[in-house]
Amino acid sequence: MVGGSPPAYRARRPGRLTPVSRWLFRRLLQAALTFAAAVVLLFFLMRLAPGDPLSRLAGDRAISEQELEFLRRRFGLNQPLVTQFRAFLGGIAQGDLGVSIEHYPEKVTSLLASRLPATLLLGGTVLLLNFIVGVWLGVTQAVRRGSRFDRWMTRLALAGYATPSFWLGLVLVAFVSLRWHLLPAAQMTDPLLPLDASPWTRAVDVLRHLALPALTLSLTSIAIMMRHQRAAMLSVFRLDYVSAARARGLTERRVLWRHAWRNTLAPMITLLGLWLPILVSGSIFVEAIFNWPGLGSLANDAIAARDYPVLLGTAMLVSGAVVLAGLLADVGYTIADPRVRQE
């Protein structure tokens, strides 16, 4: 905004981008550049540790020096770093993330694709659960600010956030599954289910398997949702239009949800970018504990087997998702809050 006539009076020439599309274009470009830089970082991270990624293999299993040499050649690790990097980029350009060492010669991309649905089911459930419960608790806390309920919910949420998901998962398995036999301890489906089971039976079976991992992940991460919702509500309560809505004699419930809460929605959407990394990191442990057949347990198996192409592929997929979530959150924010659009 440097001098000149106010932009509103300037006639828009045909073919010129509107401010919103120009903003969108720049934001897209920025997201693409961020992802590209993250990919470069990821590639070089692997090479920072001493030794090449395959040197660990020899320590863990019976593998001869010749076989190791063959693998090094197969994965191009005997080439100079620059050549390796060029090959890596070339592969990405063709949508090829290399092959797995553990599941040789299966492609990393097909492994990722086969594990994605389970992770989406678990992550989506937790996101939905945390959104519904977290929003409700955060709003109630803000309404009853300073009360005993508010203080104890804050402490409980902090306690949940302080709990390592791998430990909570193990404790839940020990008691709920192994001791009390209430819910299954592992996997996504019961392998003993008859082949002609109805879709209803199958859905209930998946839900029973989903319960404990989703609960573990939700309890250890819901604090963030609650705290942000509480803070957002408190900042909205101070604004004039809430007092105006009250003055108009609207019911308290209508003021709360229609007027106050709706205006916290935009800041809550931006949380999506913050949320995803926490959810994904948590699911590495939770999926490992519950043998949930998703990306988390794939990454976990890759760690155990030192299967670095798979680990690298998972990290790339996750980073792409984080960048995309940030982009969607920004776009969502702009749509939800017209004030941002006018800038």
């Binding site: 830089a37 990821l42 040197s55 193990l170 404790v171 155990a304």
Partner: protein, 280 residues
């Protein structure tokens, strides 16, 4: 300003969470410092054949699968975990403050470049950065673990410090300092850094909790602190096959993590409430 920092600490102390958290933390640190002197050696295996024994007078928290005293290992684990977390956060804080100050103070292409790198780094969840760094390592030494945890934790701090510096640059006292010809070094160390201390302190406190959780998670995956050095995450990993037969081997180290991280976060909560009273 040192005065405002003292005021911040005083306000945080008035907050009940601040006191509870500080008290728990003090007890934990004291136990970690002097406890090991009174307890059995956490590494030596007295009698492997006896296996895990339940809590008794001799072993208040029982013994683990190699018949080592669980209490001693939990207390010694506190020593390791707290030291690693404190050093890693100190490292991350220094790096984050330095980068944030440089980016915010000098601006221009330096700022643009540094912040694009931070953007890219923040796009990769920290756990994955650590996994990729550690998976290749054969038995990572403790100092390298501190180094790795510290160098992966400064991105968000640098953003925060940069934001504070940009805000402070608009303040009249900074304009006044520029007007009387204050040099860059003096400006950064005397005016910008002390005034950005509050938010950085809050971030650092919460960072300690995050690092303890991360370290225990990595140790649980076998990539963090290496046995026989006792670590809470490693103890939970050892306890996994004994979940039903010897639950005490899993429950106590996990509870130690929860209590420690909760205490740290209570202090962080009180500090952030003191920093922004309106959100409390």
């Amino acid at each position: 300003m040192i005065g405002s920092l003292a005021g911040l600490l005083r306000r945080a102390w008035r907050h009940p969470s601040g006191r509870i958290g500080t008290a728990i933390l003090l007890i934990l640190v004291l136990t970690a410092v002097i406890g090991p002197a009174f307890l059995a050696d956490p590494v030596v295996m007295p009698d492997v054949v006896a296996g895990a024994t339940p809590p008794s007078a001799a072993h208040p928290l029982g013994t683990d699968h190699l018949n080592r005293d669980v209490l001693s290992r939990v207390v010694n684990g506190a020593r390791v975990s707290l030291t690693v977390a404190a050093l890693a956060v100190l490292l991350a804080l220094t790096a984050g403050a330095a980068v944030g100050l440089i980016a915010g103070y000098f601006g221009g292409w330096i700022d643009a470049l540094l912040m694009r790198v931070v953007d890219a780094a923040l796009a990769i969840p920290r756990l994955f950065v650590l996994l990729l760094l550690l998976v290749v390592w054969e038995r990572i030494p403790l100092y390298a673990l501190v180094l790795v945890l510290g160098t992966t934790g400064w991105f968000a701090t640098s953003r925060l410090v940069r934001g504070e510096v940009l805000r402070l640059k608009q303040e009249p006292f900074v304009t006044a300092a520029i007007a009387i010809g204050t040099g860059s070094w003096r400006m950064i160390t005397r005016h910008l850094l002390p005034n950005a201390a509050g938010p950085v302190l809050v971030a650092a406190t919460l960072g300690v909790g995050d690092v303890i959780l991360l370290e225990s998670g990595l140790s649980f995956l076998g990539l963090g602190i290496q046995p026989p050095t006792p670590s809470w995450g490693g103890m939970v990993l050892d306890a996994r096959p004994l979940l039903l037969s010897a639950p005490w081997t899993a429950i106590f180290p996990g509870a130690a993590i929860v209590v420690t991280v909760l205490a740290v976060n209570l202090v962080g909560d009180a500090l952030s409430a003191a920093l922004d009273p309106r959100s409390a």
